[in-house]
């Protein structure tokens, strides 16, 4: 009786270390494990005893790729506790900062991490050798995202200008205006990117997932909204913990987040796109239709196209905000701490990021809970691997292993920060 094991191990740094293992016996997947050690979990303990206004800077350190997501979710949670509303231009600046993060993160993933899979390269370095002009554009696109983060956030990695209630400093109109031409170039390149990646060959692999994302009355979701799904979920953030639970699994230090009744769910670009297509700007909708990106899109391998469409959105949104920008009279709203609990949930590039805090009357954090998007997608990734391996038994070991890694990268998990440096070993039992 034939058996085979597909094993990927030794991920390092970022949100956690991880690997994958798929065991197959007689054509049936017996076991799938995505193993992740997740250092950011320790942050929940670090936060206890710290001041409420330290949370944005402390949690930003969890990830070098999506620090803004951590800052925004923590700010919204603290402001919910303290009864503070951040609106007008300060709210727009937050969206602008988030656009910078989406641009740099999606540009990195689309070109440097995911495109090599489809083009048959080991990594972006090989890609640069054969497609130098494409890689130069990708790097410039990423740099524009970084520049936007540096301009609004104070620096490109772990921004330092964000505070509960707003910012330490609001940029001048002329400073933001200097980004306009770059962003218009970035939008055009993002449209080209969407056309380029839509021409890749995608494995025929679909599943009827439960997609979960934020949904706002009028905006493509970044910082606010209700949590919705294509299975009828439509809840306020206060109900999150009654709908979703984290479970410990023996093979991993990372918790798996599941819906309490329906189990696995899917967060990230595909979920946002499927649930919020009508909130995309016209140019993003147009390019999605042009490249025949289906709605809903249920093939996670095609997430690279969706990320490209979201690049178009992020550039358009940044342009819109800058063109209408009127510097606020104060860079922040004063916040007075008060005892209570509050939640924040925002759309990190790779999906919803939930924060919940409890603080005392002095603003000292008593309890913290952080559910990153990667934890919410882990079980879905495992199920994808099981289905994919079972349906593709005819593939040779190298091809199947390659496509298993690719299946993980579809989700742009923070572990994908290292996926192009994965050690892969295959044991045909």
């Amino acid at each position: 009786m034939s058996s085979r094991t597909i094993k990927v191990e030794a991920l390092a740094r970022v949100e956690g270390e991880g690997g994958i293992q798929v065991k197959v016996k007689a054509g049936k997947v017996e076991n799938v494990k995505v193993v992740i050690f997740e250092p950011p979990r320790f942050f929940e303990a670090f936060l206890r005893g710290r001041r409420y206004d330290e949370a944005p800077d402390i949690t930003a350190r969890i990830c070098g790729i999506c620090p803004v997501a951590y800052q925004m979710s923590s700010c919204h949670a603290m402001e919910a506790i303290c009864g503070t509303t951040v609106d007008g231009q300060l709210r727009e600046l937050r969206r602008l900062l988030y656009c910078g993060e989406w641009i740099e993160s999606h540009a990195l993933h689309v070109y440097m991490l995911h495109a090599p899979d489809f083009l048959g390269y080991e990594d972006a370095i090989q890609l640069a050798g054969d497609y130098p002009e494409i890689v130069k554009k990708a790097l410039e696109l990423k740099k524009i995202g970084n520049d936007l983060m540096a301009l609004v956030g104070g620096r490109e990695i772990h921004p330092i200008n964000v505070r509960v209630g707003g910012f330490y400093r609001a940029p001048a109109k002329v400073e933001l205006a200097a980004m306009l031409d770059k962003l218009k170039w970035a939008r055009d390149v993002s449209i080209e990117t969407t056309r380029f990646v839509s021409g890749f060959n995608f494995p025929a692999f679909e599943y009827d997932y439960e997609f979960v994302s934020l949904r706002h009355p009028s905006e493509y979701p970044l910082c606010e909204g209700r949590l919705v799904s294509n299975r009828g979920l439509d809840i306020d953030l206060s109900e999150y913990e009654s709908q979703f639970a984290e479970e410990h699994v023996e093979h991993s230090n990372a918790l798996h987040s599941v819906h309490v009744e329906r189990g696995t769910y899917f967060v990230g670009p595909l979920a946002r796109y499927n649930l919020n297509f009508d909130r995309l700007p016209a140019s993003a909708q147009q390019i999605a239709r042009e490249v025949k990106l289906e709605l809903p899109c249920r093939n996670p391998f095609r997430s690279i196209i969706v990320r490209s469409v979201e690049l178009v959105f992020a550039c358009e949104e940044a342009i819109r905000i800058i063109e209408a920008y009127d510097p606020p009279p104060r860079s922040f709203v004063a916040v007075t701490p008060r005892e209570g609990a509050g939640r924040g949930c925002t759309e990190a590039p790779r999906g919803i990021l939930y924060h919940r805090y409890k603080i005392d009357h002095d603003g000292i954090i008593q309890d913290a809970r952080i559910v990153p998007p990667t934890a919410q997608n882990l079980r879905t990734i495992e199920q994808d691997l099981a289905r994919y391996v079972e349906a593709n038994q005819s593939l040779g070991q190298d091809d199947l292993t390659w496509q298993c890694e690719q299946a993980v990268r579809n989700y742009d998990p923070c572990i994908s920060c290292a996926t192009h440096a994965l050690k892969v070993s295959i044991d045909r039992g």
């Binding site: 250092p39 991490l113 640069a128 130098p132 740099k143 192009h420």
Partner: protein
């Protein structure tokens, strides 16, 4: 070297997480002094912006913590004109697009300074909130001197 090209750039790469701060400490040690034709910066190690940072320099010297399993304090020197920088040794290099990826991508795009030297020092703990190992602190002055020698070498 073009007339508008600056001579040397020393980049101290790292974060404040334990031994990952080594490159930053080297840069800070050098920043208090002036060296003719040599600029000194700290950097997160994020590859795309690193490629931008060294544009226009004839020589770049990158100082970074390493993590390869060797004893703490083990030193590495890579001359990119003869060596490929191993992606799994430098501390930042496992993070998507770091120092090693930046160097090799820049090489492919013909955007690498004429000389790029990478000085790595093996660290042990990279946890948030941890202090740098005292054995590494003792190496800061020595590595800083090595970086200056490399950056000013013709």
């Amino acid at each position: 070297m073009n007339s508008d090209q600056r001579r040397g750039l020393i980049v101290g790469v790292g974060t404040e997480h334990g031994d990952d701060a080594f490159g930053l400490l080297v840069a800070r040690h050098l920043a208090s002094r002036t060296f003719d034709g040599v600029d000194v910066i700290t950097h997160s190690g994020e590859g795309a912006s690193l490629m931008e940072a060294w544009q226009g320099y004839d020589c770049a010297v990158i100082v970074d913590a390493a993590q390869s399993g060797a004893p703490i304090g083990t030193r590495y020197r890579f001359d990119t004109s003869v060596d490929r920088v191993p992606t799994k040794t430098l501390r930042y290099s496992t993070h998507a697009f770091g120092v090693a990826e930046a160097i090799e991508t820049a090489r492919a795009l013909n955007r690498l300074p004429r000389r790029v030297i990478v000085i790595g020092v093996e660290g042990g703990s990279f946890h948030p909130g941890a202090s740098i190992d005292s054995r590494l602190e003792l190496l800061v002055r020595d590595v800083a001197a090595e970086a200056i020698v490399e950056a000013t070498r013709h």
